[in-house]
């Protein structure tokens, strides 16, 4: 059985030697081969039918049977693996790739009633009351459900649903072009913006249990700028990686606000450059710009007497980001050992007007609302290195620093208090992966993101990935 198909290939190959035989011989051999091919194809079809029957029978029985022997030797006709699957399997084969991320943690940290980053505008308007990543004790992070599939030859789609208690957040839901060509990629829907490096990554891809402070300061607890809109990318036909991207969108998320208007509320531009250095090193660097607009963006403040006050910002925000990633692996084989360094830097400017109010009626300095100029220029950075020293173990260090910078409140400087502060955090982590699909992490951080508080935080986190798991970006 194994030798006969091989003989077919041998004949086929022999018949290919141009000078081996005359034309008449060739024709005869070809006819013979065709004959043999037909016979074999019939026998294969019969075997496939038997295989399908056997599989159907096996499905009816409770216990799985041993794998079916592949019909024939190596060089027989190709039979796609789905061919024998039957009608039911064929229909469900069109189902999208589905994966589910299970993620949760145990955290031990100080009980800080109003967690915020001193000197920075709180992204959701208010201090975080021990929700999400700063929950103490046992808790679930997002449970992420990911669907993706090719839609037709022209488009591909993906949806990422983040399931939390009593809420399903549509994290991402987009379509992407496959057939434009010329290096052009078009994406539309809700997506994580291509600005920066970490912005596109979901929490299960992070190398630490929480995001760098700068991402929290820039975009809030989600640590990513997402928007509903359009993204257009162009990859240059150069030997080194050179990519330009632009986005326009609704811009409803912090640092912008939602607005009822036509046109776009935010736009972004970015460029990425990357290459290999020898076989062991690769890198990527980028610069990004994000423009957002705000109408009455609200946040809690304290007035000069320490009473609660509200600030409403209306104006434009410019965010600049620079990012750099470098990966090393011996011979470019990351399986046993590899090292990853990443660092990002930002500058953000708010420019517009701030209105100070007393919404709760506590009798603060803004009992009559006061509107004045408002402009800020704030910056920050982080750098981290993660070393995988065996196939299962990794260890990493990260340092975060922000600078509250210039905060010019105009006439409201007489009513509201803002602090000058440089939030800092140092983090160390070690994680263990049983396989590519399961990971357990221990993390320690000394967090000085709030003035006057040094918080020693311990987190034990698990990340489990079920089902189809797509490729990750560099």
């Amino acid at each position: 059985m194994l030798h006969k198909p091989f003989a077919v290939a041998a004949l086929l190959a022999a018949s290919c030697g141009a000078q081996a035989a005359g034309d008449a011989d060739l024709a005869a051999i070809r006819a013979q081969i065709d004959e043999m091919k037909k016979t074999y194809e019939q026998r294969i079809a019969a075997l496939e039918q038997r295989l399908a029957q056997a599989e159907a029978d096996a499905r009816a029985r409770p216990a799985p049977v041993a794998p079916a022997v592949a019909p024939g030797g190596a060089p027989v006709a190709a039979n796609p693996p789905t061919a024998a699957g039957g009608a039911l399997a064929a229909a469900s084969a069109f189902n999208p790739e589905v994966s589910l991320i299970l993620q949760g943690q145990y955290a031990q940290m100080k009980n800080v009633p109003d967690r915020t980053i001193t000197g920075f505008w709180p992204a959701d308007g208010h201090a975080d009351h021990g929700k999400g990543i700063s929950t103490r004790g046992f808790s679930l992070n997002h449970t992420e459900l990911i669907f993706s599939a090719g839609i037709d030859p022209y488009w591909r789609g993906q949806a990422v649903l983040a399931v939390q208690d009593e809420a399903v957040d549509v994290e991402e839901a987009w379509f992407q072009s496959l057939a434009i060509g010329h290096g052009v990629g078009l994406k539309g829907g809700r997506y994580r913006s291509g600005i920066g490096y970490l912005n596109e990554q979901h929490p299960h891809q992070w190398d630490f249990a929480n995001a760098p402070l700068m991402y929290n300061a820039l975009f809030g607890e989600e640590a990513s700028y997402r928007q509903d809109g359009l993204q257009l990318k162009w990859l240059a036909p150069t030997p080194i990686f050179l990519e330009f991207g632009s986005e326009i969108g609704r811009g409803a998320n912090f640092p912008g606000t939602d607005s009822n208007k036509n046109g776009a509320g935010a736009w972004a531009l970015y460029a990425h450059l990357g290459d290999d250095l020898g076989v062991s090193n690769s890198w990527r660097a980028g610069v990004s710009y994000l423009k957002t607009t705000s109408g009455d963006r609200e946040a809690d403040f304290l007035d000069v007497n320490g009473l609660a006050a509200q600030g409403l910002f209306t104006g434009d925000t410019d965010t600049w980001l620079a990012d750099f990633v470098w990966k090393w692996a011996p011979n470019g084989n990351p399986k046993y050992q590899n090292f990853k360094f990443q660092s990002e830097y930002f500058v953000r400017k708010d420019k517009g007007e701030l209105t100070c109010t007393d919404e709760a009626g506590v009798g603060n300095a803004c009992a009559t609302p006061v509107t004045g100029d408002y402009d800020t220029r704030q910056r920050g950075w982080y750098a981290q290195g993660v070393f995988q020293f065996t196939p299962n173990w990794r260890a990493g260090l990260r340092y975060d620093q922000l600078d509250s910078g210039r905060q010019n409140l105009g006439v409201n400087a007489a009513n509201l208090v803002v602090e000058d502060y440089r939030p800092k955090r140092a983090t160390a982590m070690v994680d263990y992966s049983w396989s590519e699909f399961s990971r357990m992490r221990l993390q320690y951080a000394q967090d000085k993101s709030m003035a006057g508080i040094t918080d020693n935080q311990w987190i034990v986190q698990y990340i489990m990935s079920l089902g189809a798991h797509g490729a990750h970006k560099f």
């Binding site: 290919c16 030697g17 041993a66 396989s435």
Partner: protein
Amino acid sequence: MIRLLTILWLAAASLPAGAALQVFATVPEWAALAREIGGDKVSVFTATTALQDPHRIEARPSLLAQARRAQLVVATGAELEAGWLPLVVRDSGNAAIQPGRPGYFEAARYVTLLDVPAVLDRTHGDVHAAGNPHIQLDPRNLFRIGEALAARLGELDPPNAKAYEAGYRAFAGRWQIAVARWEKEAAPLRGVPVLAHHDSFVYLAHWLGFKVSGTLEPKPGIEPTSGQLSGLVARQQNAPAKMVLRTAYQSDGPSQWIAGKTGIPAVMLPFTVGGTPEAGDLTGLFDDTIRRLLKGLS
């Protein structure tokens, strides 16, 4: 900025004209096969080396840049490259190399895959639903793959279609003789039980008739554990394996440990083109593989 873009566009427009067909091969064996068939009509980029685990490649920026300019992607398929290639192909902005287009070629579609799992469940490790993807180590598979690849090259580059066909025929003629020689040389290996680090040599064993009686990995893709290794050593008493095989990209620790405990030789095989200095091309790959196996047996 506009000037820079203009220059880049001009560079883009000038690239394909009169140049060789740009082939992006995911692994060295398909790069070697494309060169055998295409000769100077193709310009081949190889995404990985023999010292890299093909299951664990990252979608590096350089791969995106190369995929952007490719006219044909030659991949193994059977999910071998699932961790990086789909992303590289999608994000390349290159419509010609998308799956389903003539510019996307999967070798595994042209051969019969072995070890197709009956049950798909990750508790069995990192199993490949379509079957074992390490098809290149049965040289007979290269007839069908080579024939299909020559046809595909001809479809993409009609003026040179005859040259690709002739290239394949010349290769197949040489290969035919070489396969017969290897089969003769490797006759002593028939029926020999061996251990392997990973399920890398299923097709090689199928071809030469030796038996992989155990793997150092407890499950595919899970690193060898001390329990698994001691189990294999204990089994040596009743069912002795003659050698323990690994590829050039796998760590030598576990197989050396087995070799030390049992006295059987640990044999490193090139696995693909470039895995050893002797495996410089496809013929060298099998010459060296059989030489090393026979040396391990004596």
